[in-house]
Symmetry: C2
Subunit: 238 residues, 2 copies
DNA sequence: ACGCTAAGTGTACGCCGTACACCTGTCAAG
DNA sequence: CTTGACAGGTGTACGGCGTACACTTAGCGT
């Protein structure tokens, strides 16, 4: 009876259900509390049950990354390569905003999952369709690095603080101590020098989105220039 | 007697000795086998002994990062900002080549150790001395991101494979399977399209150093252009 | 009704970081 | 020369982790 009810309400496990639960858990509690044990508990199941559907934790992470990558917008058809790529990358970034643990997960993996490869392939396709040589496209992909996936390693990363949920932290990074300005005068100077975010005296209340787009456009402009002048990497002597 | 000998040969522990041993261990065995237990064993000491000199493992990692950062060349005096920064960053990169675990360690920390801050401060100082506004310098630092520390998140990172020692892997990444070219034609196409590394048919035998410098110069050129035209970020409406 | 298979369980192992109580060697003050 | 404080090293133990491996159970085609 009670057992019957239990049996009924328990949707059977599946790789997909596990992945979605894992993403949800990481979103809510942070990647550091994503353990096989916690995940199993969330699913009302014993830890080892998961291993019938994923080989190990690494494969679980790969699967989670795939879930993320699949959320990135597809290429807009009939668009100039520059605009198409820009939109694509910003879409990727928006996805990551909902899953702040993803960059760290991606970095920690050696990653070459099919979903990621398919995405990268489509990015390259855009460049090629825009008339880029394979050679230039190669270097461009290297140059973009993780940026094509919507993130880049920032020096101080508020968002990726180990702690809890994805949302930006309510407290604005606890104003820097006065001694800071003495020891690192140039850092202190530029901390407040960005005009965005009104004139928050604290600094650090930086507009991540602006900075990301700034760097992205700088890269795209440089890339465009190289493309226009038919740049090719110098042949190696031997 | 034997005890006396032991007492004599055992150099007393110290924070410094611990940090150097930790760096050596990570260099040789990879960051994933840097545990308090392994480290203690290398030092001929019981694990808990370490805690008399470092508060916990995170602080140990911070200390290791500082050791790395201190190896970066100081600024060359009387040099144009562009060249000075270029050299500095490439010096940082060279340091990291000797300590391939460092990027991952840096990424995993929230990092704001004094040594790192001092380094960043000196980088900013170079820009300011070159006539950059504090505003532009701010955005430039964001744009460079982890690149000022000599690394950037690559999509496929041979060097940072979890495995062993720092040296580049002897086997050249085990040639991609034929099905690859069918499923990801554009990736396959550009894989072999870089002219460096002779014409290795395998592709992937990519010259990391070239790609890094390529992206670095692209950024520096773009930055120079903005600097020349006195760029400033648009004021926020409110 | 039977038995095969896939799904879920339980127990256990060897790692990890580290809290906490303990011992011990060194050295200055009496 | 004794003493006692204290810094540095030890030993034990706890709770967490990923996961190997042997097991029960549920569901289904015959």
């Amino acid at each position: 009876m009670a057992e019957q009810a239990e049996t009924l309400r328990r949707t059977p496990l599946s790789r997909d259900r596990i992945l979605r639960a894992a993403v949800a858990l990481a979103d809510e509690a942070g990647i550091e509390s994503l353990s096989m044990r916690n995940l199993a508990q969330d699913l009302g199941v014993v830890p080892m049950a998961l291993y019938k559907h994923v080989a190990n934790k690494d494969e679980l992470l790969d699967g989670m990354i795939d879930v993320i990558v699949d959320q990135i917008d597809p290429v807009a058809p009939d668009t100039h390569w520059k605009d198409a790529t820009r939109r694509r990358v910003l879409s990727a970034r928006e996805v990551l905003r909902r899953h702040p643990w993803a960059p760290l997960a991606i970095e920690s993996r050696n990653m070459a999952t099919p979903a990621v490869l398919a995405y990268l392939d489509s990015v390259v396709a855009t460049f090629r369709a825009g008339g880029f040589s394979a050679n230039l496209a190669h270097h461009v992909m290297h140059t973009m690095g993780s940026r094509v996936l919507g993130f880049s390693q920032e020096l101080f990363d508020d968002a990726r603080r180990v702690g809890r949920s994805g949302a930006a932290s309510p407290e604005p990074a606890a104003a820097l101590p006065p001694e800071f300005a003495d020891r690192f005068p140039h850092l202190a100077e530029i901390a407040t020098a960005a005009s965005h975010d009104d004139q928050s005296v604290v600094g650090q209340g930086c507009d991540d989105q602006f900075e990301f787009a700034f760097a992205l456009d700088l890269l795209l402009d440089g890339i465009e220039r190289l493309h226009e002048q038919g740049w090719t990497s110098p042949r190696r002597s031997r």
